[in-house]
Every structure is written in C-alpha cells, then in structure tokens.
C-alpha cells in the first residue's frame, strides 16, 4: 500500500531580504505560514514546487516542507520549520519581531 502523503507547503527565501516566504493558493509569496497553501496531494505539490522554482526573480531555494493542518493554517511537522517561521531563539529578531506590518 502506498505510504500516506505528509501535507506540504512550498517555502523559499526571498531574493532580496533572504527571509522565509511561503507560496499561497493565489500565487503570492507570504511571510506568514498561516497564509500558505497546504498541499495534500503529492502530484499537486510537485507541480506547485515546479511553478515556484521558475520564479527565480523573486525567491531562492524553493522546496516542499512537511506540515500538519492546524486551526489557523499549516503547522510545522519539524522543529526546523518552526524556527524558520519564527526566527532565532537567542534574540528577538526575524519574523517574531516583525509582526503583521511586514506582510
């Protein structure tokens, strides 16, 4: 039997700022994981990744990151993605310090 597909989001780093971005269902890059499109079908995820990778003038290093569906959008399945969504734990820098004004 085929292994169950772990839901994914397309994520990358913004070309100029280098900060973490996620692909939305309406093809925007968002700074907020909660707005990302949760991909539950493997073929669809691969297709969305290919589309994202073609946008080289906007982002760097797009890949699929494992997620769980949560109450307010996708939640990271792994702690690495949790750090990417917040910022470093030693200093209040990065996303955690920027709030919604950056969106």
């Amino acid at each position: 039997m085929a292994r169950e597909f772990t839901p994914k989001v397309v994520t990358a780093n913004a070309l100029i700022e280098g900060d973490v971005v996620y692909l939305t269902a309406d093809d925007r890059w968002t700074r907020h994981l909660s707005e990302a499109e949760l991909l539950i079908d493997e073929a669809d995820a691969d297709y969305r990744l290919l589309q994202a990778q073609a946008r080289t003038g906007e982002i760097v290093g797009a890949y699929l990151a494992d997620m769980r569906p949560g109450e307010s959008g996708p939640e990271p399945a792994h702690f690495r993605e949790d750090f990417r969504r917040k910022g470093p734990s030693n200093l209040f820098h990065g996303k955690q310090s920027e709030g919604l004004s950056h969106a």
């Binding site: 780093n13 070309l15 100029i16 700022e17 280098g18 900060d19 973490v20 080289t56 003038g57 760097v60 290093g61 399945a77 792994h78 702690f79 690495r80 750090f83 990417r84 910022g87 470093p88 734990s89 030693n90 200093l91 820098h93 990065g94 996303k95």
Partner: protein
Amino acid sequence: MYHYTDFDTAFLAERNRQFRAQVERRIDGSLTEDEFRPLRLMNGLYLQLHAYMLRVAIPYGSLDPAKLRQLAYLAELWDKGYGHFTTRTNIQYNWPKLSDVPDMLDALAKVGMHAIQTSGNTIRNVTSDHFAGAAPDELTDPRPVAELIRQWSTDHPEFQFLPRKFKIAVIASEADRAVMKSHDIGLRIVERDGARGYQVWVGGGMGRTPMVARLLRDFLPEADLLPYLEAVLATYNRMGRRDNKYKARIKITVFENGLDTFRDEVETLFPQRRAVFSGVDQDWLADIRARFVTPTLPERDAAAYYSARDTDPVFRAWADTNVTPHRHADHGIVSISLKAHGATPGDASAEQMRLVADLAERYGHNDIRVSHAQNLVLPHVALADIPVVYAALREAGLGTANIGLASDIIACPGMDYCALATARSIPVAQGIATRLEELKIEHEVGHLQIKISGCINACGHHHVGHIGILGLDRAGVENYQITLGGDASETTAIGTRTGPGFAYDEIVPAVERLIFAYLDLREGPEETFLEAYNRLGMEPFKSALYDGEARAHAAE
C-alpha cells in the same frame, strides 16, 4: 598590523566592482541563482535560515581601531547592530539584504577588509596565535608568515577549485593557542641549529571524521615555504577525492593513501615547484615584515595594577582569568570575554566594538585580536592602565571574568541561524553559562573548555572540547551527544563519546552532573577537569551522567 599597498587597494576595488555588477544582474534576472550562487560564495555571502549572512575575513584575527569601528558601522547601518565573531576569527553579519551587500563590501574596502575566500573550496582565512607579538614563549611573530600565505593564496588560480575547503594555521611557540593540529595544514615556526624553518603538519580536521594532524616535515627551511605549500596543495588537488564531499578533505586523502605515500608524492613534486620560485617570495616576506608595525612599548610603573589587585577583589578575580603575562613584565595581554553569562558566545554590539576600538587606541597601541575562542584581545596593555581598561569594559558588559573557564564556551550558530544545523547550540551555551553563574562554581572548577556544535560539521570544535556537545536531530527531536577528553592545545586529542545523547532540556543538567563529579573526583584544585579525566578514564564520568539519570527516572 599590516597595511595595504596600492596594489591591494586596486585589487579589492576591482573585485567589488565585479560583484556589484553580478548582484545587479541577479536582481534584474540576467543571472539565475545557480549561476549566481558560486559568485556570491566567492565573496563570502551565504543564504542562511532567516536571511543572508556575510562572512568578513579578519586575516589572522588582527584588527586595528579603524577596522573595528568600520565593522561596528556595518553592523549598525546594514545589520541589526551587532556582529558575530567566529572560530575562524572572522566576523559574520546575520541580516544583510542582498541589495546592500555591494555597499557593505565597498565600506569594508575603505579599511582594507573584504570577504574574499571566506567560503568555497579555496584556502580560507589563515589563522594564527591571538597572542602573537605579545606572548613570552614565541620564537617570532607568526603573522607576517600568515600574511605571506594570505597574499599567495588569495585568488591563486591553481587553488580556486580544490576538492574541498582548506584551512591553514601558523604558530611560533610550543604552546598551541590556535588549534594548529586541527587544520588541513598546520605550521609551527621553529629554529634548528640557528636556522629558521617550519614544522609542517597535515591532515588535521574536525567534521564527521575528526583527525589530529600528522607530521609531514619536521623541518622545512624558511625559504622553501611557498613552493612546499604548493607541492602539498597540488598533490591534494590531484589525489583528493571529488566523488564524495564527505571524503574530500585532505585528512581523508592522507588517511586513505597513507602518510608516507602522500609525503613521497609531495617530495617528488617539491623540487619542480621550488625551481619555479625565483626567491621573490622571500623579498615579499621581508617587505611584509617591514609593513608590520609592532609597537615599541615604553617602560611603565606597574604599581597601580598591583594595588588595584590588593584592594578590589572583583578586579583581582577578573585579572586572574583575563590577563595573561606579556613578554614585557610591565605589560599584560587583556582578553575581553564575549561570553557574558547568558549571552550569545561571540556576539558583540556596535557600541561594544567601538569601545574596544577606543580602548585599543588609548591604552593598547592600536592592536586588537580576535581569538578562535570567539573573544577579543588587547595584546599590549601596560599593567598600570589595566584597572582603567577593566572599569570601561565592565561598564559596557564586557567585564566577564571567565576566560578559560567553563562558561567561556565555543558555540556555532546552530539551528538559530545556520541552514546546515541539525539542532540549536546557542541556547545550550546560554543555559550552561547561566546555570554556572547561579551555582557560582566556575572559578572553583577552574580551566574547563566546553565546545558545542549544532551538527556533525563541528564548527563549534566539539571534538576538541574537554566536554564536547554535538546537537543532532533524532527522529525529529533535538538530541545532544557528549564527548569527553578532547584537547585543543598542543597535546591535541579527539574526545570520546560517553553514550546515548540527551534531550534539549536534559543537556544542561547533564553537564552540571559532569562538573560536580569532577569536583568530587579531583585530587585537588590543581588537577584540571581534563587531567582528572585522563587519569580516571570514562567510567566515573559515565556513571555520573547515566546512573544519576536512571535514579531520577526510577524516583518519578
């Protein structure tokens, strides 16, 4: 301090002009990321977890006030007001924007600094003894030789695409303060029968296959250095593996082929290389020595220092750990700890950098060093001035008395910043240091080096920590392995794993148990942690780590 020539300045300006154009072409879409990536890496620009990171070279860890002030300026204008000093004695900026980097590089060039060869499979920043020019035990200042190697290796066309990165350290004393034997090539300047030369060590390194360097040449005449280095590098360039990144360092080349075979290859090539050298490199070396301005230290009455020690116990405690004897008895080497308890090891704010620059100018003959242990050093301070220097440092949060103690922790950026990391290291360092401060025991514990890496690449030098900590990802959870008995000094040794790893919230208590076990086990305060471990072996420490834990679980 070495001062740049017109040639150096023109070279940097041209490199920066090229990179500015490359960044513009990346942003306007003419270059893809695949095309741009090697170009940005050649200029020290990485992409990390949350942002770009610019790694600026600090050759052999030497700075002057103008350079340090410029580093502060970059931190303030284009970053978040601080910089991070690394184990390769470089500085990293964690938050630059791609579009700002060309301006940052131009600002660096104004003070003769750059980010060239701080990445890529090239010869990286040459490191040296952070006490060079001040240590009583050195034969000569090793930095002119390090500068010669820097000039020779910068943009050397033959060595821009080595199998893997390549690190060289140069020292000139028996004591090794630069972890020389953990380098691809380690050089020790020695004297034999009145002649200067080099002991050449090869194939040291950390990473997933840690190895202590082996002696390749016991005595290399001074004039043969560059042709011999070329012979070693060319041999490695040809024999080194390119099929597997993890087997590409020279340590594997030497290990797989055998030291004798490797040496034979080098010695066969060496005469050919030497024949091509006209001796111009020795003229350069003489010229570099002349450009290294070493301060003339006037005699000073040291009474103020000794009376401050007698009257102020806080000053005395700091001086005991942070002031090292200078070759001039009326001077001292002042180490400035970037390891305040609970702070990020190696971070300095722009204000702190400016203060250190001011102090170097006023009291330190314009000389500042970065140590591989991620601290700063004022190598030439008159003892009489040290109480004033200490007061200023303390005011700026730079007066922590812990050099060489358990909270003077080397830690890589780990998963808080690094895209390669498998776990965090900074919060572990913060947690250990904070706990030590609560317990107020580290002065009693004495010399103890804890080194933490957030992945197998070992940027945090965990293999050579007396206590080494390696953060891993075990089934999606941070897990920390402990090694004991590593040694970063001239008696270099790789630590041994204690056993199963510890969870993130168990690692600080585990280190605490090790420290208390040592206090129980030592023969007296003069026996260090490492000496006690070497005498007793793993068992009692293992028991402290795991038996106690088993008891605690049983009690739950």
